[in-house]
Symmetry: C2
Subunit: 354 residues, 2 copies
DNA sequence: AGCAGTATCCGAAACGTTTAGGAAGACTAA
DNA sequence: TTAGTCTTCCTAAACGTTTCGGATACTGCT
């Protein structure tokens, strides 16, 4: 039982293909009762336009591509399902579907991206995990292919579409929160990879420190490969056993934050009385651990929904009319939980050292 | 700058479209040096066949659809990214792409499924979250559309393709492990939804209990809606405060297991000395909590990879030659962690009651 | 020279849709 | 009556690909 086509419908109704097509598409040059007959027959036959045919003539596929690297590390992205849910919701509202361009371990993302773009499988692209500079962005820019990114590079033109979470403000806020609570010896455990979110979060912290202009504030920085749990634990442990252990540590991600909590427990350092930790991402696990992890929520779902809408605007050329700016920065909201608190009293400063 | 087409390539090379097409497709009726000229020109022009054109004539899209419900609950599926990674990897190896058919809150999955199938956007479908009986499965069966499921219904024909984790054996194993450790008063916190994995896990437990044929074994059963954290907590707390509190509780999922650990901590019931808990899923959080949660790992990624390969086999008709059976049951592996241990001594049985 | 066989290429149709550019008839206004 | 304007419908081309069924020229053989 093959799917009904326009031709079949037309011959059944003794009409031309054109008329059936135009009736279904809602054009006004079809008589009212003809239109009704057509709609009835279409519904009865279960007619759904063949997307390949349509795509061939319109040049649009109705697909949005999402570049998905399949590294061998276990978790792709902790909030990936959230992201997908938001994106899917946004795209569905605009009658598009999402397709996953998977990047195998042996391929480069750029390679896959080029193939997708050139084969015309997608009308637009969504890119995540943006680096401080990003060859994928450069390629699509040059190619003139519609795309949007979750995150920005360090040198985007003002017209380049992106949606990002304001990590800069978030980390400044975190610093202020902790500074006000009396903390002066700070730590930051960051990642080694030059992702742009690292840049912004770090910058936010640095600027906030500078702005305080308080010589008693110190900052120790540790780095770890992003996806190596053992290295993460080492970085945390190193900072926690240092001679001048910080009283407050900012973790670039929750995974790092959880690792710090774990090492602190192992070293019998009480959180939050002896040590404050603030993470970023609001992973599910950050609610399950004890103490619970204070962190920032990115509202990933919302972000991705926005991303979808904006990309379709871009493709349809709707964004030219200027209702929304091309770039959109969303606030991260601080989720105050159990892993931060007032700094330990100055008296204790030298007794807690290792 | 539009993408190069076969026609352009052909006229450039002073050849017919046919020849260029056949050379690129690897047919043998093209002279060696002609073939080389064509390949060179194609590479130079960056030619990639237009997928709509190809799809129109071959009737294949190269896409596999994955039905993705966008419920309003925050996390779609804890291991969703894992699943996607595996599926993507499998499909990529077979030169297919994965597309996401998102189901909005207002739509039914069946409705979306029908639309995808009838519009010819996909060559095959992957279904997850299978119910004990499932209208989506019925529809696709009847429609004769290629599909595979992660999970099985309670009445699948032997030829119906699926890959599933053996929850039956897993729960029997868990029971045996605990029984051998001296536990006799068991609890099970299950879900309310008639998902088929619930059926198999419960059945596995029941059968294991029956097989022991030990009158001193008791089983208390609690149920909670799958995605309601508050109800989950209530169910856990109810079982933990019952007059005859179990010494070992099996949680149908890790989310339930984590909730039990949380409630136990709140009630000052020590795990594992007073209570053993075993979950299922191996969520990331189960490693972060203290005590860590003993649970089963489903090897989601591996499962999904298998799923992808088998579906493509099915589509290509390769599975007819009978190298692999249509149905495949994978073992879940017990990850022994900190939340289970020997049963508390009989002496304590009546002192721990609430 | 005549013939079969082979290597190499091509014309044309087909897939299902959209849409530009009419055409035919009915109505309106003078 | 006649020209003009709507309303309603249709013909035909186009999108880019694959593939069936030849066509042509060359080879080797008798």
């Amino acid at each position: 039982m093959r799917r009904p086509t326009l031709r079949q419908l037309a011959s059944e109704l003794d009409l031309s293909i054109t008329t059936v097509s135009r009736a279904l598409a809602g054009y006004s040059d079809v008589a009212h009762d003809t239109r009704q007959r057509i709609h009835q027959a279409a519904k009865k036959a279960g007619y759904v336009p063949n997307s390949a045919g349509k795509s061939l003539v319109t040049g649009q596929t109705g697909f949005i591509g999402l570049l998905l690297p399949l590294s061998d590390r276990p978790q792709i992205d902790p909030f990936f399902s959230e992201f997908l849910a938001g994106l899917g919701e946004g795209l569905q509202a605009r009658a598009r579907d999402c397709f996953l361009a998977t990047v195998g371990p042996a391929q480069s993302e750029l390679e896959v991206l080029q193939h997708v773009v050139e084969s015309g499988r997608a009308d637009g692209m969504v890119l995540t995990r943006i680096g401080e500079s990003d060859e994928r962005v450069d390629y699509l820019n040059e190619r003139g292919f519609p795309f949007i990114t979750h995150g920005r590079t360090l040198n985007d033109a003002p017209s380049r579409c992106w949606v990002d979470t304001d990590g800069e403000t978030a980390f400044a806020t975190a610093f202020e929160e902790l500074y006000s609570a009396g903390h002066r010896r700070f730590g930051l455990i960051s990642i080694e990879e030059p992702m742009s979110f690292r840049h912004f979060r770090e910058t936010g912290l640095m600027q906030a420190i500078q702005q305080r202009n308080d010589a008693t504030v110190s900052l120790a920085i540790g780095r770890t490969p992003r996806f190596d749990p053992a290295a993460r634990a080492r970085a945390a442990s190193t900072m926690l056993t240092s001679h001048t252990r910080p009283t407050a540590i900012l973790a670039l991600t929750d995974e790092i934050g959880l690792s710090i909590l774990e090492q602190a427990a192992a070293l019998r350092i009480d959180v939050p009385s002896e040590l404050s930790v603030i993470g970023f991402d609001n992973l599910p696990a950050s609610e399950w651990v004890r103490p619970t992890l204070t962190t920032f929520d990115q509202r990933v779902r919302e972000t991705a929904l926005e991303l979808g809408h904006r990309l379709v605007d871009l493709i349809d050329g709707t964004s030219g009319s200027g209702q929304r700016p091309a770039q959109h920065l969303l606030d991260a909201t601080l989720i105050r939980r159990g892993s931060h608190g007032p700094a330990p009293g100055v008296r204790h400063e030298y007794t807690t050292g290792n």
